[in-house]
Amino acid sequence: MGADRAAADLEQFLAERGEPLLRAAVLLAGSTEAGEDLLQAALERLLRHWRTIEGDPEGYLRRTLYHLAADNWRQQRAWRKRLRLLQPGAGAAVVDGTAEVDLRDSLVRLLMQLPPRQRAVIVARYWEQLSEAEAAQVLGCSVGTVKSAASRGLRRLRELSESRGPAERAAQGSARERRS
């Protein structure tokens, strides 16, 4: 089978089933560009194991997405720590809006501040609407871990959401003072 045929087959698969996966990838990775990269990496793994995959390939692709996302986040987190050392003025409470310009909605932006595991659980449970058992299977962890991560993630989101209003107003006020 030639490259064109193989790629065409994969294009067809993506055309039929790709969009929800890409949307999940965007939420997992934090931006459209990063989501596309994440999906491409997962597709490469799918191709690598295509012959040995039992059952629906979408399930395999979904699991791979979540696992890769966790890896990427770990790397990004390490980079963020290094950047913070170089930029002592950048407060932790300030939301970084540069990488997530296409994720304008408040809770989605706050979602990017959660640890990778919590974010993955939140996306699996509340975007993909997977049950706790299904989310545990996708993420390769126990149901208890899913429960606790979802609970902690939602609590953290609520805290961030409640504290965001006053913090943003304070930031805007100090900016006005600096201008005057």
């Binding site: 089978m1 030639g2 490259a3 045929r5 193989a6 790629a7 065409a8 087959d9 994969l10 294009e11 067809q12 698969f13 993506l14 055309a15 039929e16 089933r17 790709g18 969009e19 929800p20 890409l22 949307r23 965007v26 939420l27 459209t32 989501g35 596309e36 999906l39 491409q40 597709l43 490469e44 191709l47 690598r48 295509w50 012959r51 059952g55 629906d56 390939p57 979408e58 399930g59 296409d102 994720l103 304008r104 909605d105 408040s106 809770l107 989605v108 979602l111 939140i122 996306v123 509340y126 975007w127 609407q129 049950s131 609970s151 939602l154 989101l157 609520r158 959401s161």
Partner: protein
């Protein structure tokens, strides 16, 4: 857990990823990248082996192209997967709180009439005319259903609200043609809902009961027979997955992101779905005050039958 927070989160996620589309060439990029990696690995292996064996018999070429199985072989699995996701989406615990908002179009010639506990659709399609006739809007949650019927030109005919109580159904109807309203209590049917035990075409869609039974009805139909995912079709601006019954008149379009039904066509009826969060504004759609100047009349005696 905060239901409101979860709903906001879902809504924000939906909005944030609304414009996301698969970029053209993504599959080809993935294939080429993977192929290059594979060839590099094989080349390294071959060089190492050749050095040991000092023989040039190993072949590094001849890659099969990656796909050992044609995608057509995945079709049945994909269909089974989609059906299972639809069933799961309809069975999700949150669905008990969701308000189903539907718009159903009836064939021309059908007349809708409110009766205690439901709705009667009488008459027959006017010849072979594909024209649409009356339509009804319906809001339904677990205990309350409100439906508003209109003529094909949009003139309001009546509103009907059915509430499930302990062992009884309370029906209230406001008739806009006669400027009257009536209310009545009736015994709750043993099996309320949209004829969930029946498989089309034998059963038909039975509009009785006062609960949001669309999920039950669709689940029951999906359990009835063989279905096929017949590609995608744009419904309400979304590339919906089209699911057709191998035998029978039912076609269902589902949202590829949530797997919730977006449109259903069965027996000449077309129903469009929206699944609304139970916000105060959406819950208010279930209210039905009698307009000033309307006078109360006794309820009709007949019960609900097929719609």
């Amino acid at each position: 857990m905060s239901t409101e927070l979860e709903q906001r989160l879902r809504a924000d996620m939906e909005q944030a990823t609304q414009g996301v589309r698969i970029p053209p060439g993504l599959a080809l990029k993935a294939y080429r990248h993977q192929h290059k990696r594979m060839m590099t690995t094989r080349a390294v292996t071959a060089v190492g082996a050749a050095a040991v064996l000092t023989a040039g018999t190993l072949t590094v070429a001849g890659a099969t192209g990656g796909f050992g199985r044609p995608p057509g072989g995945q079709q049945s699995r994909t269909t089974a997967y989609v059906i299972s996701r639809v069933e799961r989406a309809l069975s999700a615990p949150g669905m008990t709180k969701v308000i189903a908002y539907t718009q159903t179009w009836y064939p021309a010639g059908i007349t809708l009439q409110p009766v205690p506990g439901g709705l009667n659709a009488s008459g027959g399609p006017g010849g072979s005319s594909p024209e649409r006739g009356e339509y009804e809007l319906l809001w339904a949650n677990l205990h309350t259903t409100k439906q508003s019927a209109f003529t094909a030109t949009g003139q309001r005919l009546f509103d009907e609200r059915i509430t499930i109580g302990n062992g009884s159904l309370a029906t209230t109807v406001v008739d806009y043609t006669s400027h009257t309203w009536w209310t009545t209590q009736s015994a709750r049917p043993a099996v309320s809902g949209l004829g969930s035990a029946s498989c089309l075409p034998g059963g038909g869609i039975r509009l009785t009961g006062g609960r949001n039974a669309w999920p039950d009805f669709i689940r029951a139909q999906l359990a009835c027979g063989a279905y096929t995912v017949a590609g995608k079709q744009v419904v309400g601006g979304v590339d919906a997955l089209k699911i057709t019954a191998s035998s029978g008149p039912l076609t269902l379009w589902v949202n590829p992101a949530t797997y919730l039904p977006m449109r259903l066509e069965a027996g000449g009826l077309q129903t469009d779905f929206q699944w609304l969060p139970p916000t105060p504004a959406n819950l208010a759609m279930l209210n039905m005050p009698a307009p000033a100047g309307f006078h109360q009349v006794p309820p009709p005696a007949s019960g609900a039958s097929n719609g």
